[in-house]
């Protein structure tokens, strides 16, 4: 046989072929599937072993996802190991960081972490950063911008540590499992999928090894180098619990109701429209009021996008929303729906919001409802720093969806206690006013003057509008003008825009 083949290759000149180049592949592996899984090809005994195998070196970049929210144990667990192993000067590039990550402060002090890139910071870590604990400014990116930076190599991840509620011995991982019940559940793994795809080395950390193949999977085995099994990846109740409840706060309900009226009376409320709403307070409640109008007018949404909550799932199950694109699940109802409902699709951060891709879901939005810490008279929005100038939030998909949607609505109260939300100038520009169309407050609705079309349409439909300058003045007349914040000269944060450019900096707050 080989003789004939050699002769054929010689005659045809197809010298790139070698007969039986890899002899191993013609030897059958006669073990069973069960045996092969027990072979533990990728499973290693500890995070330390996995780190050694990864070739991680000082100065490199490590990444994490934030799908476990405030229940996350992965970041702290891994950093403790890296600290013990003596690493220095690492760049921490988590999709976001929350209040549970205050131990990072110690790792900054020790020199383990010298740079941070994230969507947001909260709690003690955020305060420490605002008070200037880091030499290098934290780089803040939107979810879409991060996906793009990773894909384009502007944020090169050396080792990704990805916690997963289920994983099989070959690395097919997901935020839930159809193979029994895991210890915890996070639904979509949309942000982690980007890290898995583009990191040089991927370590999945799980507390639930399921049998091959773990389908459906959020992260494919093809990207996963090692798997580490730990006792617990996080606190299941804090990762997610129950269904997100609608607010009962009258002020939020009032704002939500007004926002829903804006949507219903805009040109973007038609059979087949698309929508994303935030998960908190007023922005979530919008969907409840909108649903009434959808039923009454027999209008269905073609899809809902984003961080998905139980409320969106209810509308899907009622048939009012046809499809769900889920980059992040916010509650157990959403996670269970992803598991069970066939038109509830897990998407990655790139599909969600990469500003440069054709078909990016955020760019297909008719309507987005977002919240804000501060809005200014030029419609710029701040979702990163609080009224005290301290970092306390995250960009998330704010920039991406405000710019991508045809109608972006910001919902916020005019005042929070004694703090005005509508200002002459926001402390930190996160989302530029040119992408913000409507601001709905409890004391009036303001439309961006650039949206003459909307002003005309809403006025014709008897929605009374106010000038945003009047809202600002009203706030000031009630609570006065806030004192200047004690900002220092040190830049502690660089706020980037979704296109990768810089839009603002955050300065340190002096004690």
């Amino acid at each position: 046989m080989e003789k004939y083949l050699n002769q054929y290759l010689k005659e045809t000149g197809k010298t790139h072929y070698v007969p039986y180049e890899n002899p191993k592949l013609v030897v059958k592996d006669r073990t069973t599937l069960l045996d092969k899984q027990r072979g533990n090809v990728k499973i290693v005994d500890s995070i330390e072993t996995a780190v050694k195998l990864s070739g991680l070196k000082d100065g490199m970049t490590i990444s994490f996802h934030h799908h476990f929210r405030s229940g996350d144990r992965i970041v702290n667990m891994v950093l403790d190991v890296l600290e013990k192993m003596g690493f220095k000067d690492l760049r921490l590039a988590s999709s976001s960081l929350s209040s549970v990550h205050s131990p990072v402060i110690d790792h900054i002090k020790s020199g383990l972490i010298t740079r941070i890139e994230t969507s947001g910071l909260r709690g003690e870590l955020a305060e420490a950063v605002s008070h200037g604990i880091m030499k290098n400014p934290v780089i803040f990116r939107s979810h879409g911008s991060r996906a793009n930076a990773i894909a384009e190599g502007n944020l090169k991840i050396d080792v990704a540590f990805l916690g997963a509620p289920s994983c099989d011995p070959f690395g097919n991982a997901n935020g839930y499992t159809r193979d029994g019940v895991g210890k915890s559940m996070c639904g979509s793994m949309g942000y982690a999928r980007i890290d898995a795809q583009y990191a040089n080395y991927v370590i999945v950390i799980t507390d639930n090894i399921v049998s091959y193949p773990n389908v459906p999977f959020g992260i494919s085995q093809r990207y996963v180098n090692n798997i580490v099994v730990v006792d617990s990846i996080g606190d299941p109740d804090k990762i997610m619990s129950g269904a997100t409840r609608f607010t009962t706060k009258p002020q939020d309900l009032l704002i939500a109701q007004r926002a829903a009226r804006v949507i219903v009376n805009s040109p973007y409320f038609y059979n087949g429209f698309s929508i994303q709403t935030g998960s908190g307070g007023a922005s979530l409640a919008v969907i409840r009021f909108l649903a009434e109008d959808m039923r009454k007018n027999k209008i269905n949404a073609s899809f809902a996008l984003g961080g998905i909550t139980g409320q969106i799932v209810e509308l899907y199950e009622e048939g009012l929303i046809k499809k769900i694109l889920d980059v992040q699940s916010f509650d157990l109802t959403a996670a269970n729906s992803l598991k069970n409902n066939h038109l509830h699709q897990q998407i990655d951060a790139d599909y969600y919001a990469d500003p440069y891709k054709k078909g990016t879901a955020a760019n297909m939005l008719d309507v987005v409802v977002l919240s804000a810490l501060e809005v200014d008279v030029d419609f710029n929005v701040n979702v990163l720093t609080g009224s005290d100038g301290v970092i306390m939030g995250a960009i998330g998909g704010h920039q991406d969806t405000a710019a991508g949607s045809a109608l972006s609505i910001i919902v916020c109260p005019l005042l929070r206690g004694r703090i005005p939300s509508i200002l002459k100038r926001v402390n930190t520009i996160v989302t530029p006013g040119s992408t913000v169309d409507v601001v709905v407050t409890d004391q009036g609705i303001a439309v961006n003057p650039a949206r003459e079309d909307l002003i005309k349409c809403l006025t014709e439909n008897h929605i009374s509008l106010v000038d945003i300058n009047d809202l600002q003045k009203k706030a000031e007349s009630i609570v006065g003008r806030p004192e200047k914040l004690p900002f220092g000269d040190k830049v502690v944060g660089e706020v980037t825009y979704r296109d990768g450019s810089i839009i603002d900096v955050i300065r340190n707050i002096e004690e």
Binding site: P250, L415, D442, H462
Partner: protein
């Protein structure tokens, strides 16, 4: 006929404890027709003075827009009553609400205090209006004399909790125990030519029952209802919103009225029939109600 004077709607009166600065500062955003700041039952003894001062400051500083401002003062028989009235008149309140009104003399006594305060603070005499809450059997028996005791009275209201305790029963869902009191109040108010406001419905999570109760009291003839939570406002306003058919009919009557005024004729007729005065009044009221509920928008003058 004065067709231009807007009719004051009192579909909802939102109850705000007078010791709650958060609620006092933005109670006007929810669209209630009236706000009632309470110095009486929702304020504990040791907070009476602080609440009075807080409400006074709120009246002086906050722009409540078109909301009618009502303050429920402590009874004159208590040590706080007089000071409450004085401070509220000084603050420029629209309406003083008396609790537990039992007879015409209660009204007259309060009116005397109001008058004193108006003189003291240079408020034009008669500016401050009054509302009386009837909260017991005696008040119901005396409803008409109460309703006609002062020209300052703009409405009488039912306080059902105290009333039920007084007649030795409890409140039920269907409200049979309140039937006589409600009907008496409506009849007394109408006989006196003033408004009547129904009691609160206290389960804020039961919107269905709230709507049922609002429909029932609307049918009885009430102008509106007291509410204890902003979320009760919209459902009640919806109940009081006229239907499209009612609005169209009212508009035709209004046009006929304007037509008659133009012609200088005292007789208004529609489709060849004379329109009675009560029908006209009802039509105008229906249009006001429709405008207030955003069910009808008057065309701007060309």
């Amino acid at each position: 006929m004065n067709g231009n004077k807007p009719i004051k709607l009192r579909r909802t009166m939102l109850f705000c404890p007078g010791n709650n600065p958060g609620m006092l500062s933005n109670a006007y955003i929810y669209g209630a027709d009236s706000l009632m700041f309470d110095l009486e039952d929702s304020v504990s003894m040791k907070e009476k003075d602080a609440a009075r001062n807080l409400v006074y400051q709120a009246l002086k500083t906050i722009d409540y827009g078109p909301c009618e401002l009502v303050v429920r003062v402590n009874p004159l028989s208590s040590e706080y009553g007089k000071a409450d009235i004085e401070a509220m008149v000084a603050g420029g309140v629209d309406v003083i609400r008396l609790p537990k009104t039992e007879c015409a003399q209660d009204i007259k006594d309060t009116e005397a205090e109001i008058e004193k305060a108006e003189i003291k603070f240079n408020v034009p005499l008669g500016t401050t209006k009054m509302m009386a809450a009837i909260e017991g059997a005696l008040g119901i028996v005396n409803a008409y004399e109460i309703a006609t005791a002062s020209s300052r009275l703009i409405a009488i209201a039912l306080g059902a909790e105290d009333y039920c305790a007084n007649i030795k029963t409890t409140r039920s869902l269907e409200g049979s125990e309140l039937f006589l009191a409600r009907a008496t109040i409506v009849v007394a108010a109408r006989a006196a030519g003033i408004d009547c406001i129904d009691t609160v419905y206290s389960d804020i999570y039961n919107e269905e029952q709230l709507i049922k109760e609002a429909q029932a009291i609307k049918q009885l003839g009430f102008d509106g209802k007291s509410v204890i939570n902003p979320r009760q406002i919209e459902p009640i306003h919806k109940v009081f919103t006229p239907t499209q058919q009612e609005i169209e009919k009212a508009l035709k009557i209004k046009m006929a009225l304007e037509d008659a005024e133009k012609r200088g004729s005292g007789v208004v007729s529609l489709n060849g029939k004379m329109v009675d005065k009560p029908v006209m009044l009802r039509a105008l009221r229906c249009i006001e109600m429709a405008k207030a509920s955003c069910a009808y928008f008057e065309k701007e003058e060309e």
